[in-house]
């Protein structure tokens, strides 16, 4: 049988690698499964301007290489695999890669990330790799001394357009907004307006990409006048947002209408022991810094979950005697006195064991057994609940329960 990991992270972008760092540092047996090279989208983004502490000369690939080295330094295994199938429902989660390899883990962090959105305009698909591109670092070299068009005006679009000016002769940005309005941050916009190689076509959208074997020209439509102009160009770069890579998760964890994974503040999905981080989850800001933060939160939440599950398994489910499990809390007075009543009831009884759990620190298990009152006492035989007392109880009631 394959080794069982404590924490298995699906996806090696900044969110997944941060989860790896936190997981392995807390001595969890941790692996990150990545289908390509670690680093995610950040590794294909040359310009990286706002990851705190990395501002002078840092690049996306450079920072991601540091993330990877950091995760491996603490013991994270980086595995190569493309997860296509899974069973997340049990206590041990199973993930299956495209080549059939199976991975087992007690907790899973999903970090599949997102990929560039395509607009599916005429010519876009046919001319991919023939002038149409979604990755400036991959393809910028081809356009040295040539002209390119950029579609989009968010942070990624403007920053990548800026990068393209290091290669291309002219970079023309097609902007849907009125003159002077860009969706990107102000600093990038100001810098872009000063760059003599950057040109803007306002109030416009791309209608069509034309070319026989390579991109030759684009048709641009002014959305105010509906006038169409032709623009000769050698390349078209799209930076019009991203879509989550979550198709393979459909039916396994809850997704929203756009396909983003739904989590709470602890990065928990709707499946116990399964977490999600980074660009693929529903969130306000998709950046390297927020992905990394998600990873930290998920790994710590997973660690607590694993500790809770392990204690419960050892003390209750796998006990060889009947177990009286008391849910209590130090801040609830009646639950503290319940400990006394419980201990008195089993003082001379060697055939029963006592286990105690703080209701508020073990919410997963309290939830699983629908514990609502504090204190609550559950009786387990062979790992199954066979009786319970809710609220304050007496020694006699415990003796009665044991019969």
């Amino acid at each position: 049988m394959a080794d069982i990991y404590d924490l298995l992270v699906v996806g090696g972008g900044p969110g997944g690698l941060a989860a790896g760092i936190y997981g392995s540092r807390s001595r969890l047996k941790t692996a990150v499964i990545e289908k390509a090279r670690p680093g995610g989208q950040a590794a294909t983004t040359e310009e990286l301007a706002n990851y705190p502490g990395f501002f002078d000369g840092s690049t996306g690939p450079g920072l991601m290489e540091k993330f990877r080295a950091h995760a491996e330094f603490f013991g994270t295994e980086i595995l190569r695999g493309n997860i296509v199938e899974m069973d997340l429902s049990g206590a041990v989660k199973k993930l299956v890669a495209k080549d059939g390899t199976e991975y087992l883990a007690h907790a899973v962090v999903l970090a599949p990330g997102a990929e560039p959105r395509s607009l599916n305009i005429p010519g876009e698909r046919r001319l991919r790799g023939k002038g149409v591109s979604y990755c400036a670092t991959c393809d910028a070299d081809f356009f040295e001394d040539l002209d390119v068009v950029v579609v989009g005006n968010g942070d990624a679009a403007i920053e990548e357009a800026e990068y393209l000016t290091k290669f291309a002769e002219n970079v023309t940005i097609i902007v849907i907004h009125e003159e002077g309005v860009l969706d990107c941050n102000k600093a990038s916009a100001e810098r872009a307006f000063k760059n003599p190689k950057l040109h803007f076509v306002w109030n416009s959208v791309l209608e069509e990409i034309v070319g026989d074997e390579l991109v030759e020209l684009v048709r641009v439509r002014n959305i105010r006048t509906n006038e169409i102009t032709e623009l000769e160009t050698n390349g078209v770069f799209f930076f019009v947002g991203t879509v989550p890579r979550t198709d393979f998760l459909k039916g396994h964890v809850a997704l929203n209408e756009q396909g983003y994974i739904i989590t709470n503040e602890m990065m928990e999905t709707d499946v116990p022991g399964v977490y999600a981080v980074g660009d693929a989850r529903v969130k306000y800001l998709r950046q390297v810094v927020t992905a990394a933060a998600d990873g930290a939160v998920a790994a710590v939440a997973a660690e607590k979950y694993l500790a809770e599950m392990e204690a419960f398994r050892e003390q209750v489910l796998e006990a060889d005697k009947p177990v009286l499990l008391l849910f209590w809390a130090p801040q609830v007075e009646e639950s503290i006195s319940a400990i006394g009543a419980l201990e008195a009831a089993v003082a001379d009884n060697e055939n029963v064991q006592i286990a105690k759990m703080d209701t508020y620190r073990n919410r997963k298990i309290a939830g699983r057994y629908q514990v609502k009152a504090c204190p609550t006492l559950l009786l387990f035989r062979n790992g199954e609940e066979v009786g319970r007392l809710e609220g304050v109880f007496t020694t006699e009631q415990v003796s009665e329960l044991l019969k």
Binding site: R128, K130, D139, D141, F142, N234
Partner: protein
């Protein structure tokens, strides 16, 4: 794999008889670097069935553009010097590449 460039592309690929596979890559292309181990394993496994070449497209831009490749990574099959099939970034999938080789070889 044979490293080809503007000096030997004509002889190794366009004048070659039979099937030639060319991996268009560049050191700056992360997806290309990610694929490299798989491509090398693919070439090794199918040794003798085709000639396996790799071309640093960034260092040989004009040659790449002349071959109608302006996006990386790209895998191109040539047969008797004629381009017969191209896999681009979106369509590259090693089982599909293997199937194409089996079909063409």
């Amino acid at each position: 794999m044979i490293a080809v460039d503007k000096e030997n592309f004509e002889a190794e690929v366009l004048q070659a008889e039979g099937l030639v596979f060319v991996d268009f890559w560049s050191p700056k292309c992360e997806p290309c670097m990610a694929l490299l181990p798989e491509v090398e394993a693919f070439a090794e496994k199918n040794a003798g069935r085709a000639k396996f070449c790799k071309l640093d497209a960034a260092a040989n831009k004009r040659l790449s553009i002349a071959q109608k490749v302006m996006g990386l990574p790209a895998f191109v099959f040539y047969k008797n010097g004629e381009k017969v099939f191209t896999f681009d970034k979106e369509s590259i999938d090693m089982p599909a590449v293997q199937a194409k080789l089996d079909e063409l070889a």
